[in-house]
Structure formats: C-alpha cells, structure tokens
Symmetry: C2
DNA sequence: GTGAAAGCGCTAACAT
DNA sequence: ATGTTAGCGCTTTCAC
C-alpha cells in the first residue's frame, strides 16, 4: 500500500492524497472524501521513512539514558512519554547501561567511559532523531561531555553549561531548608545530619539549605552530629551507629539524611540500638523513593518531581525544534520539590 | 554530508562507497582506503531514513509497554537493550500508560481500553519498526487483543495463543513448589498462604505449586490458613491480621504470600501483633522486588528473571526477523525462576 | 572491480 | 483546486 495505490483507487493524483492527509492544501470535498474512503478501506499508513527522507524530519526524539535501572530514570521517561503521546513524536530509546560498568563510582570514571559512549551513541542516531533528551542518573554537572550534534539537546536530571544544551533539574536548597525547618518547627534542636558524598553537587546544595534553616532559627549545627555518608544505605547505617555511640550522652532527637537510602540505613541502626522511630529519634529522608512507603514507619521525605522533569524536558525539546525563540531564553529550568510528611518525624 | 559527497572526495562512485560501508562487494584496497579516509575526515553518517526506504528495513524494534511504571517493565527493557546493543537495532519505545487509566483493575477493563490503544499504537508505527515486543505489566493471557501486523511480535511477561505471536514468561509452579518445600524443609508444618487475586493465572499456578509440595510432603493444607489477598500490600496486612486472630490458638509457624507486597503487609501485621519475623512466624514472598531487601528483616522470596525475559524476547524478535525457521519452532518460552534465601524464614 | 542509473514512497514547487 | 514531476539519500542491478 503506497500513496500511489490510494491515488489510483480514489482516482486522484498522489499530490492530492498528500494534501488531504497532511491538510497542506484545500481539496474539493468530494475528492477529499474519495481519498478518505480509500484510506479507510485499505488501512493505508504512510511510510514514515519516505516521509522523513523527504521532509528531513524523523519525528523521533532520541532519549539517551545513562541507565534505565537508575531509580529516577523510568519516572523521567514516564514524564517524557506523557508529553509525547499528545504530539506526533516517537521515542527512540538508547540505554548507555552505565550502571554495569561503573557501579557506584558516581562522578569518577564516568568522564572517560561516558565521553566515548556518548559520542558513539549520539552519532549512531544518524538522521534518526530531531532532538535528544539526555537523561542523567545523578544530579551532576556534565559540561563538556556532550558534543554538539546540530540538534536540540536537553539534559534531564543533570546540568551542563554548554551553550548547545538546555537542562531541567530539581530544587535542592530551598527544599532542604524547608525540611530542616520542619524538623525545627517540630521542636527538634539537636539535629544530626548524614550527608551524601561531600564533593557532589546535591550534597553541597542540600547542606546549604540545611545550614540556612539552622541559621535562620538561631541554632548552630554541632559538627559532632554531622556524619559523611556516601548515598548508600549502609553508610546511613554506620553513620547512625557512630552517632549513637559517640553521642550517647547527648543524643540528637532527629536526624536528617540526604537521601532515603541513608535514612533507612539510619533507621536500621536506631532499631538495632533498641530505640524507636520516631519516638526516640525522628528521621527525615530525601528523594521519596518507592521504598520510603515500604519501610515502617513510613518515611517522611522530600519529593523530587521526576515525572515533571521528563515532561518539561520533552516540552523544551519540542519547543526548541519549533525554532521557538522564546524557548532559547530559559535554557535551564529548576523544578520545585516538595515535602512529603509521613510517619518518621515526631513533634516534641 | 551525503554519500555523494564522500564519493566526490574519494573520487569513486556512490556505489563503491556503499560497497565499502556495507561490505556488500569487494573493493580494491586502495579505493577502499580513500573512502574510509573521506568518511573519517568528514564524520559522515549514512542517513538511516534513506537507507530504510531503500532496503525496507527500519532497523528499529518497537517496544510497546503497557506502562513503564509497572514494577517489572524497566528491568525487561533493560534486558531488551542489553541484547539490542550488540545488534544494530534501535528501540522505538511506546508507552501505553495503562496504569493511569486502569489502576488496579488488572484483568478487567484492560480488554476494551487495551484493544483500542493497541490498535492505535501499533498502527502508528507505520513502517517504523521491523518487529515489536509487547511488554505486559501482569502475567496474563492476552489472546485476541493483539492484531496481526504482518511483522514479528513477541510478548514479554504475558502470553497469548494467537498464531502470530510468540511469548516469553517465567516459571511459577515449579518455583512455588520449591519455595513451599523450602519452608517444609525448615521444619514448618502449619503454613499459611496468602493468595493473589484468585482468578488470575499466576495465583492459580502458584497455588498449584504450593499444593504439589504439600502433597509431596504428605501434609495437608488447612483451608483455615489460606486467605485471599489481592496482590496489594494492604491485603497482606489484613489477611495476616485475620489469621492472627482466628488462629490464635493454633498459629501457623510460617506464611507464604504470593508476592512480596503482601508478604510485607503480613510482616506489618505480625510486628503489630508484637510477634517477630522470623522467630515467631516465618515469611516467604514472591517476585524479589527491590523493596524486598529494604524491609527488615530482608525478605526471602522467589526471583523472576525479568532481565532475562527482555533479553530473550529481543533475541526471539531478531531471530524471527531473520526468517529463521527454527525460531518458529519454540514459540513460547518459560524462563526458570529461582529462590532467594534471605532472613525471613527460620529453621525450627 | 567499478560505475551509471533506476527507484524505494513521499512532498512540494510549479504549472495548469 | 489539482496534477506533473523532481528529488530527498541510499542500495543494487546491470553493463562494462
């Protein structure tokens, strides 16, 4: 079934068929109907490859993910596909599968390994995509590792200051301040913090927010109760264990962990010490990962709008393709995060 | 940059360039080198659309997922992409987003809603894919809802007996028997079971396996200790609560839930009753969802090889495209599942 | 071993 | 308003 067949059946030219399908030119109602009938009758579907070749538009948007198993990735894709289903774009998915190769090396290694993969993968897209959304696994600065491909690129969940990319990330600082403020408002004064890897951007921003709230409340953050974790659950466990031992004479009444994993690790340690959450010690997480509702008690945490990030990224990508000048204005958007109050913080 | 440009630079015909790129015909080493140089120099990438149009092969495989937020979906995609990265296929992802529209209606509604979406979505693929992998969200029979599109279709995580589809699912019965046997081997005699929705295929198969092991051990399953859940965590909680009340004079020493969610719900109820897992009551789950390692104690469960399902599905799809006759032999594969022993089952 | 050229299915400029 | 036709970038037959 080609456009030619339809033209024959409807007794019109191929141009006319094209006009009615795409609405590019007015067509006499009668002929238009004949075309429509022919299409309905045959179930004809235009060959997208031919169309793309001719129009130089693939109608595909490339979604390049660092790893689909990253906890944030599928929600971001969900957001992208939510936006895309109302457009006529399709998603061409390419998984870099970085998790297997770099495990927990976060910032390290990535650089090299990445650069290669990236170049390779992006190039592989040939003329298959009109824009690409790069979906990061960590909130970090990847400036310089994504080369210009002459097509719109928007980075989701990471940033870069390369002139040829846009990005959409989420808010860390304000929400961390808000989380800390919530703890303070609940009457906590001695609040421990379990940080993420100290040199990472989110750890720094979250600390900034925490400090802000502390200062604002006229309190001070005793350095004895800030412990450096590495984002993993185990580190939360060990940090808390240390805290429990070292500060046993002056136990904090609450602990804020920079992510849910460490918060849960901390809860393990608290329970192991025969203490209760939140009666003895309150716990605050960050990320609102799926597991935060599965632990008991359910974790109070901050939610990152992952789906919104994907949705916005898709929106930006499409706007950029439209050559929309306004789209170029706001290149880097930061979505608000919000507090999710559950059961691990007590009012004292 | 087109093939013509390369031909000009290398001072050969476009045909020759094509020959060296695709290795379709022998080319004099000297000319071949000139072509290779020109390509390297310019960073030329063949236009896939043109190639596809000409060869009538898109080199895309369509991945149609019921919902990317389904707990099994991303692992399956991971498996697909693992296989695909070593081939020259790309993944065209289409998310039906069924979760939003049908919530927990599992089998119901799906039928209608699905059929529409399916037809729509599949057709939308136009000539964009050479095969499609349909990724289900539940292990169920979807016979009749996927129409023939004249291209290979393989169904992952669901089945259908339509002649035009293949499928790859996982093993339920043997592994359920094995799980039950493990409980029995640990000395448990009075074992409660919390079932999934009774009319669903996995619930029936899992029950079959459980019964098998019970019979084999010369025990009987007291119907007083089998409770019907609905796959959700809450139902596990309520089933266990009932059990704890009704059977308080003859408490089971172990409970097997047909999925991790219900197992975790059961653990909640056990804890709430002041009892301990596994000291007082052992718990066995099914699915090995991410959360099963986050609860405390870590859940003993059965793992479904999700990644393997995706990998195998991709393999089958590609084999089918090759017109491989052997591929048509084995149309429905069932991957083995395995027991994951963790900390919720005690030896008594 | 290599090149000329036809043609995949479509769109759009141009002619009518 | 509609038809004719060139050509998008590639592969492949056919002739040399």
């Amino acid at each position: 079934m080609t456009i030619k067949d339809i033209a024959n059946i409807a007794k019109v030219s191929t141009a006319t068929v094209s006009y009615v399908i795409n609405g590019t030119k007015p067509v006499m109602p009668e002929k238009r109907q004949r075309v429509l009938d022919a299409i309905a009758q045959t179930g004809y579907q235009p060959n997208q490859m031919a169309k793309s070749l001719r129009t130089k538009k693939s109608n595909n948007i490339g979604v390049l993910v660092e790893d689909i198993m990253g906890f944030s990735t599928s929600s971001i894709i969900d957001g992208i596909s939510k936006h895309v289903e109302h457009s006529d774009y399709n998603i061409l998915l390419n998984d870099l599968r970085l998790l297997d190769s770099l495990l927990n090396q976060y910032d390290q290694i990535v650089q090299q390994k990445d650069k290669i993969n990236k170049a390779l993968s992006l190039l592989r897209f040939g003329a298959r995509v009109d824009a690409v959304i790069y979906v990061g696994m960590f909130d970090r600065d990847i400036s310089g590792i994504i080369t210009d491909i002459g097509k719109p690129i928007v980075i989701a969940y990471s940033t870069a200051n390369d002139s040829h990319t846009c990005s959409v990330t989420y808010e860390n600082e304000t929400i961390s301040a808000e989380a800390m403020r919530y703890l303070i408002d609940c009457g906590h004064k001695r609040i421990a913090v379990i940080t993420g890897l100290a040199h990472t951007a989110p750890a720094q921003m979250r600390m900034q927010g925490i400090l802000e709230a502390v200062k604002e409340a006229g309190l001070v953050l005793d350095s004895a109760v800030v412990k450096n974790g590495d984002w993993e659950r185990e580190s939360g466990y060990f940090c808390m264990k240390d805290l429990l031992e070292q500060e046993k004479d002056n136990l904090p009444t609450a602990v804020i962990a920079m992510n849910d994993l460490m918060a849960i690790g901390a809860m393990d340690a608290i329970r192991e010490a025969g203490l209760q959450v939140p009666q003895d010690i309150s716990v605050m997480g960050f990320d609102n990962r799926e597991i935060s509702t599965f632990v008991w008690p359910k974790l109070t945490t901050a939610e990152i709008d992952l789906k919104g990030i994907g949705f916005t990224a898709a929106q930006m990508a499409i706007a950029q393709m439209g050559g929309n000048e306004k789209a170029r204005q706001e290149q880097h958007v930061v979505l608000p995060s919000r507090l999710i109050i559950r059961d691990t913080v007590a009012n004292i």
